[in-house]
Amino acid sequence: MASKMDIAREGILTFNDSKAKRSFIMKHWPLYAISIPGLLYFIIFKYIPLFGSVIAFQDYNIFKGIRGSKWVGLEHFQRMFEYHEFLMILKNTLLIGLYDLVFAFPIPILLALLLNEIRFHGYKRVVQTVIYMPHFLSWVIVGGVVVALLSPSTGVVNHSLGWFGIEPIYFLGENSYIRTILIGSGIWKDSGWGTIIYLAAIAGINPDLYEAAEMDGAGKFRQVMAITVPSILPVITILFLLHIGRFLDFGFERVFVFLNSLNSENGEILDTYVYRAGLVDRQYSYTTAIGLFKSIVGLVLIVAGNSLSKKASGEGLY
């Protein structure tokens, strides 16, 4: 019995006929039994909606259901690209995604490099504890804190600006500030948290390398650029790819908490638009088309980014 299990563990378990296979499964039936609810969960809550996405190609009518509704082909996708409002929202989504990539992505790397230079252990601990904290607050709370800081009448930011003789600015009420606020609050919430993985990568670097560099007369900065950064480059690449794959997924909550009628022209993204047009205005088929478009673009981005990075560095997600 033990030997059979060893074989199984190495993954070369073979069966002479289906009867042997069935009796093997029967012997371990509890394993198969407890997996059923989980598998059903994925089929019901993940796969059925996936197939339900065909309503993007229909004029879905909630009373007729998928089978009774009329098929319209790509009409909704076409409508999407002809619609002025949609193009504006797509532009917002792309720009916000791009700003997030350019400004927010490098910050955890910089923070990790700086944290790594702190030699005093207790101090490092305290700093880490503090910069991880905002990650656990909900977006609603982060939103509330930001609103308080930026409030035109009582916020500290406007009071500080007042010292320089600048009139109070209603930051959340203007289109020109919303993107900065979105990216900035994201940096505040998650950049400390993002350092964890880089710090782990840095901790794995062979200390001999630094000693050798020091012998050769390399300064601290030179050591960071020549050893630390190249050593964590694979991790950076992988996280960058993951980020690219989620390019359009900036997140519903973090935008929704800041969104109001005064800043939506620059702030509304696909996720908030799908909510508004889909659930509030009940344009089911049209917004499903938008969602599907988003998923497909995301998939293409992952595949493209992966093959690019494999070509360039040999590192990839799969």
């Binding site: 371990h28 989980g38 019901i44 993007a56 910069i131 909900s138 509330g144 308080a148 998923s295 992952i302």
Partner: protein
């Protein structure tokens, strides 16, 4: 080192400012005198919140969703992660691919909404718990923990005639306390902070979640301010009240934070190694 100190400060100061405002009276807040320390100290903001019935209702709903949801999360994730980690489970490759696909490609909002509508789950607390029962990412982390359990131990238990169920209960689960704790906290924080699902799938006032109520008060200024009587008007500023609400909703997270940070980091690193 000094730079990190400044960065650290940038993370805490906003929170301190919020706490200070929540404990200050209206004239001080309106004149902008409140920095990091309360001016015109008052606890009236908190008194008002604690008197607010909707607030307690929302608090109760959030507690229910967090406790029941997290238990279901753990049971559902473990009961799929364990079989998928055993070589005796012949279809694990296929099952893993089934899960992996859902991570890369997921259905848009509306088909999800229509499914839940057809299942008659809208406007129940279940809709906040069941559709999010398993996170594929957490499933993979948990599976990689189970894969690394010492096989010898399980084999010897089998040889001693221990049945599969008894083995899970007596050996696997006690050994998995660390991963269960980590996952439990991860799920619990997610459930406590849950917002978008509540917005999508619930419009009954009696099922309001704390985060939803919070946004109503803090961002859209819907205070339900009728209980502010005229003699309080000098003491209470809307801003102070909002800040008190923020603190109120943050306290549970802050209480578990030290515990949370430790476990989260371990969990995150386990996950990153395997993925």
């Amino acid at each position: 080192m000094i730079l990190m100190f400044v960065i650290g400060l940038a993370m805490v100061l906003p929170m301190l400012h919020v706490i200070a405002q929540s404990l200050s009276d209206a004239p001080a807040i309106n004149s902008g005198a409140v920095g990091l320390w309360p001016v015109g100290f008052t606890t009236e903001n908190y008194h008002l919140i604690l008197k607010d019935g909707t607030m307690w209702l929302a608090f109760r709903n959030s507690v229910i969703v967090t406790v029941a949801g997290t238990l279901i999360n753990l049971a559902a994730t473990a009961s799929l992660a364990y079989p998928l980690s055993r070589p005796e489970y012949l279809y694990r490759k296929a099952a893993l691919v089934l899960v992996l696909i859902t991570m890369i490609f997921h259905a848009p909002l509306i088909p999800n909404y229509l499914l839940l509508k057809n299942l008659h789950m809208l406007n129940t607390l279940w809709v906040l718990i069941i559709p999010g029962a398993i996170s594929a990412y957490n499933l993979f982390v948990m599976r990689s923990f189970f894969v690394n359990l010492p096989n010898e131990l399980l084999d010897s238990a089998r040889i001693d005639g221990c049945g599969e169920f008894r083995m899970i209960w007596k050996i696997v689960l006690p050994l998995s306390k660390p991963v269960m704790a980590t996952m439990g906290i991860m799920y619990a924080v997610g459930n406590w902070n849950m917002y978008s699902q509540a917005i999508y799938y619930i419009d009954k006032r009696s099922l309001l979640l704390l985060q939803v109520r919070l946004r109503e008060i803090v961002i859209t200024d819907n205070m339900g301010a009728s209980d502010i009587t005229s003699d309080l008007i000098n003491l209470i500023s809307p801003e102070g009240l909002k800040m008190a609400v923020i603190v109120f909703a943050t306290i549970p997270i802050m209480l578990v934070y030290p515990f949370l940070q430790k476990h989260f980091i371990k969990g995150m690193l386990v996950g990153s190694i395997k993925s």
